[in-house]
Symmetry: none
Subunit: 134 residues, 4 copies
């Protein structure tokens, strides 16, 4: 029911294809139902600062069963979840900006893909391409 | 192709000169292409809280190939990268305010300088003076 | 000169083949010259506790240009590096047991592979198989 | 009474000279009376894993007003301080192997130098050369 390595590779392959199309090298991470990393790749030239962010986005998306983009909308100052990005001091950082997208099977979130390396819009389209291949 | 200790010392010397001119003691750090520290100095009287910040600024600037000032503009509430400052829980903190400037060679970012100890404007001018000497 | 994603995939493929041969699912991580993660996979059934360890082993091996097995021999009680495993509080943990092996090009260590998921002997043979494919 | 940047540079210069003599590139860090970093250099080719260790050694040496070599002798299994290397979870790691040496003025420890990059014996001789120049 969770995400196999073969699943993760299929998601990453589709995400990489989209990243190549838009010409922006990316970090791409996939986590399983437990929020644990299944696979990660950093495309040549992608930011080293985005390694951890791609994993954080994937973790966050599964951890709350939501896209990080939608979580982010609710986490701005004055919004209901403002401050959530600093709550997990002993674990993964909570990412509250676009690029983390749930992986769903039979209506249930069983994992997530996280993408970091470009603008929020670029990260989102690459993550969505990955999730679509799941 | 990366940053040697001699490079780092030249950058720090120029940054220190600028800090002396404006009369504000600073922490100055230089990282290489892998984001790893090459050298750091704390001028007499500079804040001890700025030791780590100067290193974080240098790391951040190389990690995302951008000045921390420009990154900060995109990391304000409602902007596309809001929340990025807490994402790297397992590594260096991501700094989203002025004072981190990339070091560029042949059009490629091969390192960065990070400065902390004064106002954003002061940190920025000292970091830029350092980068100009690279 | 450093490790490309294609390099990392070749290393991981060879390491996975060896893990399959010995029938022990593994986490396999590859870092570049700066110690930054290039790629990671967790084979189906591999321990989730070994995700971080595989990355730590790869980082450690590059960070000190040595196999973690050899570092470990020098890090036992009364040996010269005893205690090194807790020194990097602000970065990656230092791994002092078998499974991290340098990736060498023209006599220079330009990256490393880290493997975790079995006994020390199993981790080591899988890491060596990966490194041999570099 | 504490360690100025000029002091730290004199210590580092002497330590670098000794490192060059023995042909082993080093990380060298100096902290002041408060245990806070004054300056750090990584010589070309020195291990990136030793950046943090050099700072930890300097911090530890000042934090307990003792050389890390002597502290290490008391921190082996069955000795009185065994376990001290993991006590500072929220701060600097405590280093319990050679390479951290106090800087003394008028019989008082006012800072320390930490060296990492070679064997325990090499680290120690470089740190002692640095301290002698204080």
């Amino acid at each position: 029911m969770s995400v196999t390595l073969a699943d993760a590779r299929r998601v990453i392959e589709a995400a990489e294809k989209r990243a190549d199309e838009i010409g922006q090298p990316m970090n791409i991470a996939v986590v399983d139902a437990g929020g644990n990393l299944v696979a990660h790749v950093r495309q040549d030239g992608a930011w080293i600062g985005s390694i951890e962010i791609s994993i954080s986005k994937a973790w966050t998306s599964k951890a709350f069963d939501i896209s990080t983009k939608d979580l982010g909308d609710n986490s701005q100052p004055t919004q209901q979840f403002f401050g959530i990005h600093t709550t997990n001091a002993h674990g993964r950082g909570v990412a509250i900006f676009a690029g983390g997208v749930p992986l769903t099977r039979d209506g249930e979130v069983v994992g997530a893909v996280g993408v970091s390396g470009g603008s929020g819009e670029q990260d989102q389209t690459v993550a969505e391409a990955g999730a679509a291949a799941f």
